[in-house]
Subunit: 437 residues, 2 copies
Amino acid sequence: MSMILGAMIFYPGGEHLASWRLPGARPERYLDLGYYRDFARTAERGGFATLFIADELYVWDRFASGIDHVVNIRTEPFTLLGALSQVTERIGLAATVSTTYNEPYHIARKLASLDFLSEGRAGWNVVTSASDEEAWNFGRDANLDHAVRYRRAAEFIDVVNGLWDSWDDDAFRYDKESGYFADAAKLHTLDHRGEFFTVRGPLNIARPPQGRPVIFQAGASEAGRALAGATAEAVFTMGTNAVRGAKILYDDYKARAAANGRNPDHLKVLPALSPVIGGTLREAEEYLDEIEALTPERLSLDWLSHYLQFDVSSHPMDETFQPDLSVPTNQVRSVQEQIGRLVGSGSYTLREVNRALLRRRFLVGTPDMIADWMTERYRAGAADGFMLAFSSIPVGVEAFVDLVVPELTKRGVYHGGYRGRTHRENLGLPVPPSRYA
Amino acid sequence: MSMILGAMIFYPGGEHLASWRLPGARPERYLDLGYYRDFARTAERGGFATLFIADELYVWDRFASGIDHVVNIRTEPFTLLGALSQVTERIGLAATVSTTYNEPYHIARKLASLDFLSEGRAGWNVVTSASDEEAWNFGRDANLDHAVRYRRAAEFIDVVNGLWDSWDDDAFRYDKESGYFADAAKLHTLDHRGEFFTVRGPLNIARPPQGRPVIFQAGASEAGRALAGATAEAVFTMGTNAVRGAKILYDDYKARAAANGRNPDHLKVLPALSPVIGGTLREAEEYLDEIEALTPERLSLDWLSHYLQFDVSSHPMDETFQPDLSVPTNQVRSVQEQIGRLVGSGSYTLREVNRALLRRRFLVGTPDMIADWMTERYRAGAADGFMLAFSSIPVGVEAFVDLVVPELTKRGVYHGGYRGRTHRENLGLPVPPSRYA
């Protein structure tokens, strides 16, 4: 089958914190349906299988610069996807669901409803939520431990899958003559009692058109990969590894699926990718420079502090950086290790660190180079496709569809268009049978 | 101003349990967007201010007949309203929210998002959820006590209102030149700590176009009316009272609003109304008979048991009914009182009780009679308008718009069309200022 493409939105303006300041950006439209409709239709023009709306449950207000300079507003994704279901035709509609701050009965209903309203195009990205800020909005003092969150996620998925199977596919008779709306023998009451959830069921909606909306995941930790091997149907991975590293990661996910008795082909591995596209490499580099130049220095320092989990905010960007040695040794070691991975050993400025981090997040090049990069990984069996997180919106998605998609097609790795009607069909995933079948 | 009309959907097929069996009913479409789109567009043609989707969080499986004969499937209403926002133009979009089984941060986001996507048409109906079946789907053994539920509802509304005010109306600068996306001085962190909720905030979406989506309520108990007087902007009341009873109820709600320091005109009182329309009274009566004849006897008995909270299911429908005197006296007294209010004292069959109950729920008549009935209450100051719960869908809403609306217009009590763009404008409600204004 063809390479799979997904189109993701995390920040409404694009992947870079300063994308909203670019000439083509439309920050005043970030809460308008039309903005997302245009994005989705461009992605449909490019034959993207999935539109994925990432989500968070808080405002990034740890630093004042986060409020001043960062896009902290977003629409609730399932309300948005409900709306988009009526102004798109074929693209799959997926969004983040936190299993730490939701109830499975609500989520099962919401996803089943979206699957009906979109005629089989729903999907969900299971996340466990990592920040304390989210906990504070839901009555907790701090986030749950990592291991607890993953146990909860696994149970959450199991309950949701069970609720979707409440009614057999042929449970409804709608028989006006006899008066039988449903066949009681085809209704199943879940009666789940687990560590985190007690849910009787049944769900008050029919089994979704896709059987189950598609499950995405992105966890890279051991617990995250274990959960993906057991339950995910597509994973997003860090995309800018060397081919060899990507292949090892790919094989790891496939092996985990097989070890769970699953067909490895039913777990799609999609490295995430943020292209910065230029007519020449130099133009692309300049475009990245332009985005970076739009980032206020205060924000860069705060964001680095956030990323490194180490306060670097009092260090000037252009002087040689040494961690403050008055803080605990393990913290110093952690920040030195992280920075070492980015810029190697020796002396460096924070601007150099920041630049290295950017270069790791973005793939900078011509359409030809980006298509080659993707094709190489696809042909090497290191990717079933890619999850595109555009550096800027709408410019980035338009450039990708207009310039990179034709290159991929020319190389014979991407067919474009849609092979089916449902999200599953377009991802090459089967409809799962009911657990009662 | 004109009489206000709202159009409600509880059961997808209409208010009567057997409506799905009527000739015009389309039960196989109850999970299709097109079914609700057609309903909404008919309501828009009639100038309805509000489309209201009622909701429950369980399957009515207490009796086998509930599974066999009742419509137990529905779409999650906010996903549905998100979709409807793109295929309707002017009608307000409201749905039930249980404050017992939700988190305010999620609900505030969802409603604010719907308000943006619909350009100011969102609303919510606050309910506290009364059935144990719902508790069982959310990790509880039984529902919360009535008083506790209402305290929780009041706090829930306060938190949601507070979250909506997180950002001032002019908090966003989108200033590409300076790099300031927002003005930090115009951001407010709620820091709520109450009996039921601890929510730090701020909300990660701008203040909604309407300031706050419209708050509906329907509680008729003392606690329900007290909450409505303090917080509701529209209430649905039991609609088939005599004019005098309706007027007393109307005045009670208005007085409660005033006692809370509110303008009574900003709490709209909308009796609920289920018309059964015929060309002649006889035709309308026959139509009700037809619906009732489609109700399996087993279902009628189980539904009566549910309604009376007293097991009558082993009594034949057509024999004189006496409560089984082996059960506790207070239960016998309760069922006798309830039935007494319906059919008076003396002997009666369960079929007569059932029929009396039906007659109380439905208003049976010609378009002229129904328009007179509504006009009388409107002119008497016993209603600001009506919430229509059609006995059958789509036939009932089409008949009302085609036949009753012109009669109301002729009487000068209803203007039709839309006076504004937003839900508030069409209900004659002001935009509430932020609590920080």
